[in-house]
Symmetry: C2
Subunit: 165 residues, 2 copies
């Protein structure tokens, strides 16, 4: 890991992007009517693995891809303001939160920041049942529309997206 | 917007991805030590606009790219379990939540789902000051490490990433 954050490199890269930019006509409403909820994991490549292009879909990401209250907030905005009408939930193998120890995480935070916290981090035991549970939350959530919700597992070892529900 | 959700098309695309897959050696820890917090907006292209490659960075996304409790949960996991040591917050022009009317959103939800909700959706007035406020939350949050936090505004009209803090 570099010792300096790569902020300058990001901005330098952007100069070239601006010169070739041709997406000024994309609208805020996603082209496919899709909202995707997945993990923050750096290995997940929605363009490559699913053919999701820029402009196609809303993408909501958090640690483990959980249907948290904040994810539901985002999905409600996505549906009501920008017209999405289907949801895909994607969990993945080798997630840092699978089998993670909540008490150990709280202890690490206290040791490194001095803050004692009662935060729940979203650790989980079984991947497929966790994806199913998120799909169920979204299918039944009172503030969301009754839209199709699919659950996938992404295998970081093979690149495969497996439908689980 | 297509009337059927594009689930089958996504899975069909994935067959080709699996055949050419060469990322099985990527690790869970992001290569650059970076965590990015941005909006769910379909137009944001982190690979193109900033040169963020698959494996480089954690990506946390929600409606408006806000430093919500759930984003802080994700960032704490990112830092403690997977070693990220810098954060970039990215807001963007023409965000659906800029100048959005919270009461109108609640009314739309009630009309379309029957649910009355007190949910706050994260609407905001000024883009740059909102990005600054998210950066401040993360710089001072007790459960997060004191790491560099940069704030950018992405211009969907030009492709430019402007540093605001």
């Amino acid at each position: 890991m570099p010792s300096d954050p790569p902020f300058d490199r990001l901005i330098a890269h952007n100069e070239r992007y601006v010169e070739a930019f041709d997406r000024s006509l994309l609208t805020a409403a996603p082209r496919t009517g899709l909202a995707i909820l997945t993990c923050m994991d750096a290995r997940i490549d929605l363009a490559g693995a699913l053919g999701i292009e820029i402009g196609d879909a809303h993408v909501i990401r958090n640690a483990a891809g959980l249907a948290t209250d904040d994810a539901v907030r985002s999905l409600a905005v996505s549906q009501q303001l920008l017209g999405t009408r289907a949801i895909v939930v994607i969990g993945h193998t080798r997630c840092g939160l699978q089998e993670a120890d909540e008490a150990d995480l709280r202890a690490r935070i206290e040791q490194s920041t001095g803050a004692s916290t009662a935060m729940r981090f979203g650790s989980f035991a079984d991947l497929e049942s966790t994806v199913r549970a998120q799909v169920e939350i979204l299918r039944r959530h009172p503030v969301l529309l009754r839209v199709p919700v699919q659950g996938l597992v992404y295998e970081v070892e093979t690149g495969r997206m497996r439908s689980v529900v």
